[in-house]
């Protein structure tokens, strides 16, 4: 999907909205243990208001991917450092319809992935630096919250 830009596709053939939304919902629940598909269901969910067959094709591709990788999950190990590290990134002009960018990020405690997110930004930006700052901001919010929580749990 990386090279495909989804659009509203106003001239496309309509597809059953209820079924489409049900597919998106199922995919979102699956992201709780499969972070590699955090971004794509989010993109497809933007077209829930008026799903077209072109959007359905992409949703089916995600489900086919799941079919091949159903046993993927997250591994947590006891023996690991306790350094909290956050990463973030952003796509420039990811949404063709409203020109907004999408932030993404993940947080590791030692070697363990503990938090991740992918969210379309709320405003249109004219510079790449600004969208990077917005992504870094969201990441830091999460980072500080977890830092505080670890302190409360007495985790060093």
């Amino acid at each position: 999907m990386t090279h495909i830009k989804l659009t509203k596709d106003d001239s496309g053939v309509n597809f059953d909205q209820t079924l489409y939304m049900s597919m998106i919902g199922s995919l979102f629940y699956h992201t709780t243990s499969k972070h590699d598909i955090t971004f794509v269901p989010g993109v497809c969910s933007r077209y829930q208001a008026e799903p077209k067959t072109s959007h359905l094709t992409q949703v089916k591709r995600i489900i086919k991917y799941i079919n091949r990788t159903y046993d993927y999950g997250i591994l947590y190990s006891h023996v690991t450092g306790s350094m909290l590290v956050g990463y973030c990134n952003v796509d420039w002009d990811g949404s063709t319809d409203d020109r907004k960018s999408t932030s993404g990020g993940c947080l590791f405690l030692g070697n363990n992935l503990i938090s991740w997110f992918s969210k379309k930004q709320n405003c249109v930006s004219l510079s790449t630096t600004k969208i990077e700052y917005i992504a870094a901001g969201s990441s830091c919010t999460q980072l500080l919250w977890i830092k505080q929580m670890l302190k409360e749990y007495n985790v060093e």
Partner: protein, 44 residues
């Protein structure tokens, strides 16, 4: 309330405790959504 032992399966989440790791997956749930939308026999 009753104690039913260590957590292994909850709301589609499978928890597999191993020696010093824990593996969390949703393979059963993943298979069920593929089946629900009728795409289990497609490969590409």
């Amino acid at each position: 309330m009753s104690l039913v032992g260590e957590l292994t399966y909850f709301l589609g989440m499978q928890v597999n405790p191993m020696e010093d790791t824990i593996f969390i997956s949703q393979s059963k749930y993943a298979k069920s959504i593929v089946k629900k939308f009728g795409l289990e026999n497609t490969n590409n």
